[in-house]
Amino acid sequence: MASWTTRRSPRLGHFGQLVLLWVLVELWILNIADLLLTRYSLWLGFAKESNGVMDYFFRSGTVPTVAFKIGIVTVGALLLWRLRHYRTALFAAALLTGVFTAAVAYQALWVLSF
Protein backbone atom coordinates (compact mmCIF):
# COMPACT_ATOMS: atom_id res chain seq x y z
CA MET A 1 0.00 0.00 0.00
CA ALA A 2 1.37 3.39 -1.04
CA SER A 3 2.16 5.95 1.63
CA TRP A 4 0.14 9.14 2.14
CA THR A 5 3.00 11.27 0.83
CA THR A 6 3.53 9.07 -2.19
CA ARG A 7 -0.15 9.11 -3.03
CA ARG A 8 -0.26 12.91 -2.72
CA SER A 9 2.80 13.41 -4.97
CA PRO A 10 4.03 10.44 -6.91
CA ARG A 11 7.72 9.72 -6.80
CA LEU A 12 10.02 10.88 -9.56
CA GLY A 13 12.42 8.38 -11.07
CA HIS A 14 16.07 8.91 -11.92
CA PHE A 15 15.32 10.06 -15.46
CA GLY A 16 12.69 12.52 -14.21
CA GLN A 17 15.25 13.98 -11.84
CA LEU A 18 17.65 14.48 -14.71
CA VAL A 19 14.91 16.33 -16.60
CA LEU A 20 14.24 18.42 -13.49
CA LEU A 21 17.91 19.33 -13.26
CA TRP A 22 18.02 20.53 -16.86
CA VAL A 23 14.76 22.43 -16.46
CA LEU A 24 16.10 24.20 -13.39
CA VAL A 25 19.34 25.12 -15.20
CA GLU A 26 17.27 26.52 -18.08
CA LEU A 27 15.09 28.42 -15.62
CA TRP A 28 18.15 30.02 -14.08
CA ILE A 29 19.54 31.08 -17.46
CA LEU A 30 16.15 32.38 -18.59
CA ASN A 31 15.95 34.45 -15.43
CA ILE A 32 19.19 36.20 -16.38
CA ALA A 33 17.89 36.74 -19.94
CA ASP A 34 14.65 38.17 -18.53
CA LEU A 35 16.60 40.53 -16.31
CA LEU A 36 18.79 41.78 -19.18
CA LEU A 37 15.89 42.21 -21.59
CA THR A 38 13.77 44.02 -19.00
CA ARG A 39 16.63 46.32 -18.09
CA TYR A 40 17.23 47.08 -21.78
CA SER A 41 13.53 47.66 -22.50
CA LEU A 42 13.24 50.03 -19.53
CA TRP A 43 16.31 51.89 -20.72
CA LEU A 44 14.84 52.17 -24.20
CA GLY A 45 11.81 53.75 -22.59
CA PHE A 46 9.06 51.74 -24.24
CA ALA A 47 8.44 49.34 -21.36
CA LYS A 48 7.20 49.73 -17.83
CA GLU A 49 7.85 47.21 -15.06
CA SER A 50 4.41 46.02 -14.04
CA ASN A 51 5.69 43.88 -11.16
CA GLY A 52 5.62 46.22 -8.17
CA VAL A 53 8.40 44.40 -6.31
CA MET A 54 10.75 44.41 -9.30
CA ASP A 55 9.82 48.01 -10.07
CA TYR A 56 10.98 48.93 -6.56
CA PHE A 57 14.30 47.16 -7.08
CA PHE A 58 14.81 48.66 -10.56
CA ARG A 59 14.37 52.09 -9.00
CA SER A 60 16.81 51.20 -6.22
CA GLY A 61 19.68 50.43 -8.57
CA THR A 62 21.34 47.71 -10.57
CA VAL A 63 23.08 45.81 -7.78
CA PRO A 64 19.97 45.29 -5.58
CA THR A 65 17.97 44.31 -8.67
CA VAL A 66 20.50 41.71 -9.79
CA ALA A 67 20.95 40.39 -6.24
CA PHE A 68 17.21 40.05 -5.64
CA LYS A 69 16.28 38.58 -9.00
CA ILE A 70 19.09 36.07 -9.19
CA GLY A 71 18.88 35.31 -5.49
CA ILE A 72 15.18 34.54 -5.38
CA VAL A 73 15.26 32.29 -8.43
CA THR A 74 18.37 30.50 -7.17
CA VAL A 75 16.70 29.85 -3.82
CA GLY A 76 13.53 28.68 -5.57
CA ALA A 77 15.49 26.39 -7.88
CA LEU A 78 17.41 24.89 -4.93
CA LEU A 79 14.14 24.30 -3.07
CA LEU A 80 12.67 22.52 -6.06
CA TRP A 81 15.84 20.46 -6.39
CA ARG A 82 15.55 19.57 -2.69
CA LEU A 83 12.07 18.22 -3.52
CA ARG A 84 13.36 16.36 -6.58
CA HIS A 85 11.95 13.03 -5.43
CA TYR A 86 8.42 14.31 -6.04
CA ARG A 87 6.78 14.60 -9.41
CA THR A 88 5.14 17.88 -8.34
CA ALA A 89 8.59 19.51 -8.26
CA LEU A 90 9.10 18.66 -11.92
CA PHE A 91 5.64 19.92 -12.79
CA ALA A 92 6.23 23.23 -10.96
CA ALA A 93 9.67 23.69 -12.51
CA ALA A 94 8.36 22.94 -16.01
CA LEU A 95 5.48 25.37 -15.56
CA LEU A 96 7.81 28.13 -14.32
CA THR A 97 10.30 27.53 -17.10
CA GLY A 98 7.57 27.52 -19.74
CA VAL A 99 6.20 30.84 -18.50
CA PHE A 100 9.70 32.34 -18.32
CA THR A 101 10.43 31.15 -21.86
CA ALA A 102 7.22 32.74 -23.12
CA ALA A 103 8.10 36.03 -21.40
CA VAL A 104 11.66 36.02 -22.71
CA ALA A 105 10.57 35.12 -26.26
CA TYR A 106 7.99 37.91 -26.20
CA GLN A 107 10.50 40.46 -24.90
CA ALA A 108 13.19 39.38 -27.36
CA LEU A 109 10.79 39.82 -30.27
CA TRP A 110 9.78 43.25 -28.97
CA VAL A 111 13.39 44.36 -28.72
CA LEU A 112 14.19 42.95 -32.17
CA SER A 113 11.17 44.63 -33.69
CA PHE A 114 12.49 48.04 -32.62
Binding site: E26, K48, A102
Partner: protein
Amino acid sequence: MAEPLTGGAASPAPAPPAPLTRGGAAECLHAWSRALLVSGLVLLAGAVLGVAGFVFEQSRATWRPQVAATSAGWRIATSHGLQLGGSALGADHLAWEAGPFTLLTDPGSGKSRLLGAAATAGSASAPSMSDRFVVWLEAPASGSRDAVVWVYEISRGRRTRLEDVQGISQSPAVSGTTAVWEAAGGGAGSPQIHGADLVTGRRFSLGESGGASVLIISGTLVAWAAGRPDPAAPLVITVVDLADGRRWSIAPYPEGQEGSLLGIALAGRTLVWARATSAAQADQILAYDLDRPAVRVIAQAIDLVPPAADGDLVVWAQPSAEGGTQVIGVRLSGGDPFPIASVPGGSVRSVLVSAKTVAWHVAGALLFDTYLQTARLP
Protein backbone atom coordinates in the same frame (compact mmCIF):
# COMPACT_ATOMS: atom_id res chain seq x y z
CA MET B 1 12.88 4.49 18.18
CA ALA B 2 12.14 6.41 15.04
CA GLU B 3 8.95 5.58 13.19
CA PRO B 4 9.38 4.56 9.52
CA LEU B 5 8.17 7.34 7.21
CA THR B 6 6.26 4.95 4.97
CA GLY B 7 3.90 2.25 5.90
CA GLY B 8 3.18 -1.05 4.25
CA ALA B 9 5.72 -3.35 2.75
CA ALA B 10 9.32 -2.38 3.02
CA SER B 11 10.81 -1.13 -0.20
CA PRO B 12 13.36 -3.41 -1.76
CA ALA B 13 16.98 -2.74 -1.04
CA PRO B 14 18.64 -0.58 -3.70
CA ALA B 15 20.61 -2.45 -6.28
CA PRO B 16 24.37 -2.20 -5.84
CA PRO B 17 25.89 0.35 -8.22
CA ALA B 18 27.03 -1.16 -11.47
CA PRO B 19 30.72 -0.90 -12.19
CA LEU B 20 31.46 1.98 -14.55
CA THR B 21 32.10 0.50 -17.92
CA ARG B 22 32.25 2.09 -21.37
CA GLY B 23 28.72 0.85 -21.99
CA GLY B 24 27.52 2.26 -18.67
CA ALA B 25 29.06 5.68 -19.37
CA ALA B 26 27.43 5.74 -22.79
CA GLU B 27 24.09 4.83 -21.23
CA CYS B 28 24.52 7.59 -18.66
CA LEU B 29 25.34 10.13 -21.38
CA HIS B 30 22.34 8.91 -23.34
CA ALA B 31 20.07 9.47 -20.33
CA TRP B 32 21.42 13.01 -19.84
CA SER B 33 20.89 13.78 -23.53
CA ARG B 34 17.36 12.43 -23.47
CA ALA B 35 16.62 14.46 -20.36
CA LEU B 36 17.99 17.58 -22.08
CA LEU B 37 15.79 16.85 -25.07
CA VAL B 38 12.70 16.48 -22.89
CA SER B 39 13.50 19.73 -21.04
CA GLY B 40 13.92 21.36 -24.45
CA LEU B 41 10.28 20.53 -25.16
CA VAL B 42 9.33 22.76 -22.22
CA LEU B 43 11.35 25.57 -23.79
CA LEU B 44 9.73 24.96 -27.14
CA ALA B 45 6.23 25.08 -25.67
CA GLY B 46 7.03 28.32 -23.83
CA ALA B 47 8.63 29.90 -26.91
CA VAL B 48 5.58 29.03 -29.02
CA LEU B 49 3.38 30.66 -26.40
CA GLY B 50 5.56 33.79 -26.32
CA VAL B 51 5.69 34.13 -30.11
CA ALA B 52 1.94 33.59 -30.36
CA GLY B 53 1.36 36.30 -27.77
CA PHE B 54 3.64 38.70 -29.62
CA VAL B 55 1.98 38.02 -32.98
CA PHE B 56 -1.47 38.39 -31.43
CA GLU B 57 -0.53 41.68 -29.81
CA GLN B 58 1.02 43.01 -33.03
CA SER B 59 -2.10 42.10 -34.98
CA ARG B 60 -4.14 44.22 -32.58
CA ALA B 61 -1.57 47.03 -32.26
CA THR B 62 -3.20 50.42 -32.03
CA TRP B 63 -0.28 52.20 -33.64
CA ARG B 64 -0.45 50.39 -36.98
CA PRO B 65 -1.68 52.89 -39.59
CA GLN B 66 -4.03 52.31 -42.47
CA VAL B 67 -1.99 52.84 -45.63
CA ALA B 68 -3.75 53.00 -48.99
CA ALA B 69 -2.32 53.68 -52.43
CA THR B 70 -3.70 56.67 -54.31
CA SER B 71 -3.21 57.65 -57.94
CA ALA B 72 -0.32 59.96 -57.01
CA GLY B 73 1.11 58.43 -53.84
CA TRP B 74 -0.11 57.15 -50.48
CA ARG B 75 -2.74 58.03 -47.94
CA ILE B 76 -1.78 57.24 -44.36
CA ALA B 77 -4.41 57.37 -41.64
CA THR B 78 -4.35 56.39 -37.99
CA SER B 79 -6.79 54.03 -36.35
CA HIS B 80 -8.06 53.23 -32.83
CA GLY B 81 -8.73 56.90 -32.10
CA LEU B 82 -5.09 57.96 -32.37
CA GLN B 83 -4.67 61.47 -33.66
CA LEU B 84 -2.00 62.14 -36.23
CA GLY B 85 0.49 64.73 -35.05
CA GLY B 86 3.63 66.20 -36.56
CA SER B 87 5.46 64.52 -39.38
CA ALA B 88 8.63 64.74 -41.46
CA LEU B 89 9.78 63.60 -44.89
CA GLY B 90 13.22 62.40 -45.88
CA ALA B 91 15.13 59.54 -47.47
CA ASP B 92 11.96 58.40 -49.27
CA HIS B 93 10.43 57.76 -45.87
CA LEU B 94 7.82 59.48 -43.76
CA ALA B 95 8.30 59.81 -40.00
CA TRP B 96 5.26 60.78 -37.98
CA GLU B 97 3.87 60.99 -34.50
CA ALA B 98 0.53 59.81 -33.18
CA GLY B 99 -0.05 60.19 -29.44
CA PRO B 100 2.82 58.43 -27.65
CA PHE B 101 3.99 56.63 -30.82
CA THR B 102 6.69 57.60 -33.32
CA LEU B 103 6.55 55.73 -36.60
CA LEU B 104 8.44 55.44 -39.85
CA THR B 105 6.51 54.62 -43.01
CA ASP B 106 8.05 53.64 -46.31
CA PRO B 107 5.73 55.19 -48.92
CA GLY B 108 7.24 52.85 -51.52
CA SER B 109 5.91 49.74 -49.85
CA GLY B 110 3.38 51.19 -47.45
CA LYS B 111 5.05 49.36 -44.55
CA SER B 112 5.41 51.05 -41.17
CA ARG B 113 7.83 50.53 -38.33
CA LEU B 114 7.38 51.59 -34.74
CA LEU B 115 10.38 53.70 -33.69
CA GLY B 116 9.29 54.64 -30.22
CA ALA B 117 6.48 54.51 -27.73
CA ALA B 118 6.60 56.99 -24.89
CA ALA B 119 5.93 55.44 -21.49
CA THR B 120 2.36 55.24 -20.23
CA ALA B 121 0.55 58.56 -20.68
CA GLY B 122 3.74 60.18 -22.03
CA SER B 123 3.96 61.98 -25.33
CA ALA B 124 6.25 62.16 -28.32
CA SER B 125 7.19 65.31 -30.21
CA ALA B 126 6.93 65.81 -33.95
CA PRO B 127 9.88 63.97 -35.48
CA SER B 128 12.50 65.52 -37.73
CA MET B 129 14.40 63.51 -40.31
CA SER B 130 17.30 63.63 -42.73
CA ASP B 131 18.36 61.06 -45.29
CA ARG B 132 20.01 58.97 -42.55
CA PHE B 133 18.45 59.82 -39.22
CA VAL B 134 15.15 60.45 -37.46
CA VAL B 135 15.19 62.43 -34.20
CA TRP B 136 12.36 63.05 -31.77
CA LEU B 137 11.68 63.85 -28.15
CA GLU B 138 9.82 61.56 -25.76
CA ALA B 139 8.39 63.32 -22.74
CA PRO B 140 7.19 61.47 -19.64
CA ALA B 141 3.73 61.94 -18.20
CA SER B 142 5.06 63.61 -15.06
CA GLY B 143 7.69 66.28 -14.71
CA SER B 144 9.68 64.15 -12.28
CA ARG B 145 11.59 62.45 -15.08
CA ASP B 146 13.62 63.91 -17.92
CA ALA B 147 12.47 63.93 -21.51
CA VAL B 148 14.72 62.00 -23.87
CA VAL B 149 15.99 62.95 -27.33
CA TRP B 150 16.10 59.76 -29.44
CA VAL B 151 17.87 59.06 -32.71
CA TYR B 152 16.99 56.33 -35.17
CA GLU B 153 19.46 55.43 -37.91
CA ILE B 154 17.37 54.37 -40.88
CA SER B 155 19.89 52.21 -42.73
CA ARG B 156 20.99 50.27 -39.64
CA GLY B 157 17.59 50.17 -37.96
CA ARG B 158 19.28 51.24 -34.73
CA ARG B 159 17.73 53.44 -32.06
CA THR B 160 19.97 55.30 -29.60
CA ARG B 161 19.43 57.68 -26.72
CA LEU B 162 21.03 61.01 -27.62
CA GLU B 163 20.35 63.18 -24.58
CA ASP B 164 18.25 63.47 -21.45
CA VAL B 165 16.60 66.89 -21.46
CA GLN B 166 15.31 68.69 -18.39
CA GLY B 167 12.34 71.01 -18.50
CA ILE B 168 10.25 71.95 -21.49
CA SER B 169 12.00 71.48 -24.79
CA GLN B 170 11.14 71.98 -28.40
CA SER B 171 11.14 69.19 -30.95
CA PRO B 172 14.71 68.38 -31.92
CA ALA B 173 15.74 68.83 -35.56
CA VAL B 174 18.20 67.02 -37.83
CA SER B 175 19.81 67.68 -41.19
CA GLY B 176 22.40 65.37 -42.71
CA THR B 177 24.26 64.03 -39.69
CA THR B 178 23.77 67.07 -37.43
CA ALA B 179 21.05 67.16 -34.78
CA VAL B 180 20.08 70.17 -32.66
CA TRP B 181 17.79 70.40 -29.66
CA GLU B 182 16.87 72.78 -26.89
CA ALA B 183 17.66 72.05 -23.26
CA ALA B 184 17.57 73.93 -20.01
CA GLY B 185 20.98 75.36 -19.16
CA GLY B 186 22.78 74.61 -15.95
CA GLY B 187 22.30 76.77 -12.89
CA ALA B 188 20.03 79.59 -14.03
CA GLY B 189 18.21 77.15 -16.26
CA SER B 190 17.88 79.46 -19.25
CA PRO B 191 17.23 77.28 -22.29
CA GLN B 192 20.08 76.72 -24.69
CA ILE B 193 20.44 75.22 -28.14
CA HIS B 194 22.72 72.19 -28.18
CA GLY B 195 23.83 70.08 -31.08
CA ALA B 196 25.76 66.96 -32.00
CA ASP B 197 27.25 65.29 -35.01
CA LEU B 198 25.52 61.91 -34.98
CA VAL B 199 28.43 60.16 -36.69
CA THR B 200 31.45 61.59 -34.90
CA GLY B 201 29.66 62.32 -31.62
CA ARG B 202 31.09 65.86 -31.51
CA ARG B 203 28.92 68.11 -29.34
CA PHE B 204 28.46 71.87 -29.57
CA SER B 205 26.35 74.65 -28.09
CA LEU B 206 24.80 77.63 -29.88
CA GLY B 207 24.09 79.59 -26.72
CA GLU B 208 20.84 80.77 -25.20
CA SER B 209 17.70 80.34 -27.23
CA GLY B 210 15.41 82.63 -25.27
CA GLY B 211 12.81 79.86 -25.20
CA ALA B 212 12.44 78.73 -28.79
CA SER B 213 8.94 78.22 -30.14
CA VAL B 214 10.29 76.41 -33.18
CA LEU B 215 13.70 74.99 -34.08
CA ILE B 216 14.88 73.94 -37.56
CA ILE B 217 18.13 73.00 -39.29
CA SER B 218 19.07 72.72 -42.95
CA GLY B 219 22.64 72.01 -44.01
CA THR B 220 24.85 74.17 -41.82
CA LEU B 221 22.10 76.65 -40.96
CA VAL B 222 20.19 76.43 -37.68
CA ALA B 223 17.19 78.71 -37.06
CA TRP B 224 14.81 79.21 -34.19
CA ALA B 225 12.14 81.72 -33.23
CA ALA B 226 11.85 83.05 -29.70
CA GLY B 227 10.17 85.81 -27.80
CA ARG B 228 12.02 88.87 -26.52
CA PRO B 229 12.18 90.13 -22.94
CA ASP B 230 9.63 92.81 -23.86
CA PRO B 231 6.39 90.90 -24.45
CA ALA B 232 5.08 93.68 -26.71
CA ALA B 233 8.05 93.29 -29.06
CA PRO B 234 7.71 90.86 -31.95
CA LEU B 235 9.41 87.48 -31.91
CA VAL B 236 12.88 87.27 -33.30
CA ILE B 237 14.18 84.60 -35.65
CA THR B 238 17.81 83.74 -35.02
CA VAL B 239 19.82 82.01 -37.74
CA VAL B 240 23.29 80.59 -37.05
CA ASP B 241 25.68 79.24 -39.67
CA LEU B 242 27.51 76.30 -38.08
CA ALA B 243 30.24 76.54 -40.72
CA ASP B 244 31.54 79.98 -39.72
CA GLY B 245 29.52 80.96 -36.65
CA ARG B 246 27.77 83.90 -38.36
CA ARG B 247 24.46 84.96 -36.81
CA TRP B 248 21.42 86.77 -38.14
CA SER B 249 18.52 88.16 -36.11
CA ILE B 250 15.40 88.76 -38.15
CA ALA B 251 12.12 90.29 -37.01
CA PRO B 252 9.35 88.44 -38.83
CA TYR B 253 7.06 91.47 -38.77
CA PRO B 254 7.60 95.17 -38.02
CA GLU B 255 7.69 96.44 -34.50
CA GLY B 256 4.53 98.26 -33.52
CA GLN B 257 2.30 95.95 -35.57
CA GLU B 258 0.27 93.16 -34.12
CA GLY B 259 1.26 89.96 -35.77
CA SER B 260 2.03 86.31 -35.42
CA LEU B 261 4.61 84.00 -36.86
CA LEU B 262 2.91 81.04 -38.54
CA GLY B 263 6.01 78.99 -39.35
CA ILE B 264 9.60 79.05 -40.60
CA ALA B 265 11.60 76.99 -43.09
CA LEU B 266 15.07 77.03 -44.64
CA ALA B 267 15.33 76.73 -48.41
CA GLY B 268 19.04 76.38 -49.05
CA ARG B 269 20.47 79.62 -47.66
CA THR B 270 17.15 81.41 -47.72
CA LEU B 271 15.00 81.82 -44.63
CA VAL B 272 11.30 81.52 -45.41
CA TRP B 273 8.54 82.37 -42.97
CA ALA B 274 4.79 82.82 -42.91
CA ARG B 275 3.25 85.64 -40.94
CA ALA B 276 -0.08 87.21 -40.19
CA THR B 277 -0.10 90.92 -39.38
CA SER B 278 -2.76 93.44 -38.52
CA ALA B 279 -1.54 95.69 -41.33
CA ALA B 280 -2.02 93.17 -44.13
CA GLN B 281 -5.38 91.78 -45.18
CA ALA B 282 -3.90 88.38 -45.92
CA ASP B 283 -1.21 86.12 -44.53
CA GLN B 284 2.15 86.33 -46.25
CA ILE B 285 5.10 84.07 -46.98
CA LEU B 286 8.39 85.93 -47.16
CA ALA B 287 11.86 84.85 -48.23
CA TYR B 288 15.11 86.35 -46.99
CA ASP B 289 18.33 85.44 -48.77
CA LEU B 290 21.02 85.37 -46.08
CA ASP B 291 23.83 86.03 -48.56
CA ARG B 292 22.14 88.93 -50.38
CA PRO B 293 20.09 90.50 -47.63
CA ALA B 294 16.79 91.19 -49.35
CA VAL B 295 13.25 90.23 -48.43
CA ARG B 296 10.59 89.35 -50.95
CA VAL B 297 7.01 88.21 -50.64
CA ILE B 298 6.50 84.91 -52.42
CA ALA B 299 2.87 84.24 -51.51
CA GLN B 300 -0.06 86.13 -50.08
CA ALA B 301 -3.45 84.64 -49.23
CA ILE B 302 -5.98 84.28 -46.47
CA ASP B 303 -5.46 81.24 -44.19
CA LEU B 304 -2.05 80.27 -45.54
CA VAL B 305 -0.64 76.97 -44.31
CA PRO B 306 2.99 77.49 -43.16
CA PRO B 307 5.61 76.60 -45.77
CA ALA B 308 8.02 73.69 -46.04
CA ALA B 309 11.20 73.82 -48.09
CA ASP B 310 13.79 71.55 -49.65
CA GLY B 311 16.64 72.95 -51.71
CA ASP B 312 15.24 75.93 -53.59
CA LEU B 313 11.68 74.58 -53.58
CA VAL B 314 9.14 76.13 -51.20
CA VAL B 315 5.75 74.45 -50.77
CA TRP B 316 2.67 75.74 -48.96
CA ALA B 317 -1.11 75.38 -49.03
CA GLN B 318 -3.86 77.94 -49.38
CA PRO B 319 -7.62 77.88 -49.88
CA SER B 320 -8.64 77.61 -53.52
CA ALA B 321 -11.42 79.47 -55.26
CA GLU B 322 -13.31 76.17 -55.70
CA GLY B 323 -13.65 75.73 -51.95
CA GLY B 324 -10.93 73.18 -51.28
CA THR B 325 -7.26 73.70 -50.56
CA GLN B 326 -4.48 73.98 -53.11
CA VAL B 327 -0.94 72.74 -52.42
CA ILE B 328 1.39 75.06 -54.31
CA GLY B 329 5.15 75.13 -54.92
CA VAL B 330 7.62 77.70 -56.16
CA ARG B 331 11.31 77.51 -56.98
CA LEU B 332 13.27 80.39 -55.48
CA SER B 333 15.76 80.17 -58.34
CA GLY B 334 13.04 81.41 -60.69
CA GLY B 335 9.70 80.62 -62.21
CA ASP B 336 6.09 81.04 -61.29
CA PRO B 337 4.25 79.20 -58.49
CA PHE B 338 2.85 75.90 -59.75
CA PRO B 339 0.01 73.74 -58.39
CA ILE B 340 0.99 70.40 -56.86
CA ALA B 341 -2.28 68.99 -55.59
CA SER B 342 -5.84 69.91 -54.86
CA VAL B 343 -7.39 68.80 -51.57
CA PRO B 344 -11.18 68.80 -51.88
CA GLY B 345 -12.32 68.28 -48.26
CA GLY B 346 -11.02 68.97 -44.80
CA SER B 347 -8.43 71.50 -43.83
CA VAL B 348 -4.72 71.16 -44.55
CA ARG B 349 -2.73 71.60 -41.35
CA SER B 350 0.81 71.30 -42.65
CA VAL B 351 2.81 70.49 -45.76
CA LEU B 352 6.10 68.61 -46.16
CA VAL B 353 8.58 68.34 -49.00
CA SER B 354 11.69 66.26 -49.57
CA ALA B 355 13.40 65.60 -52.90
CA LYS B 356 10.60 64.58 -55.29
CA THR B 357 7.91 63.89 -52.69
CA VAL B 358 5.36 66.27 -51.21
CA ALA B 359 3.00 65.41 -48.35
CA TRP B 360 0.16 67.21 -46.66
CA HIS B 361 -1.64 66.61 -43.40
CA VAL B 362 -5.41 66.87 -43.60
CA ALA B 363 -7.83 67.17 -40.68
CA GLY B 364 -11.36 66.18 -41.55
CA ALA B 365 -14.58 67.30 -39.96
CA LEU B 366 -14.42 64.63 -37.26
CA LEU B 367 -11.88 64.81 -34.43
CA PHE B 368 -9.91 61.70 -35.34
CA ASP B 369 -10.42 61.94 -39.10
CA THR B 370 -6.84 62.95 -39.87
CA TYR B 371 -4.59 61.61 -42.57
CA LEU B 372 -1.38 62.26 -44.48
CA GLN B 373 -1.28 62.09 -48.23
CA THR B 374 1.83 61.97 -50.37
CA ALA B 375 2.39 62.75 -54.04
CA ARG B 376 5.36 62.83 -56.39
CA LEU B 377 6.31 66.26 -57.66
CA PRO B 378 5.26 66.95 -61.24
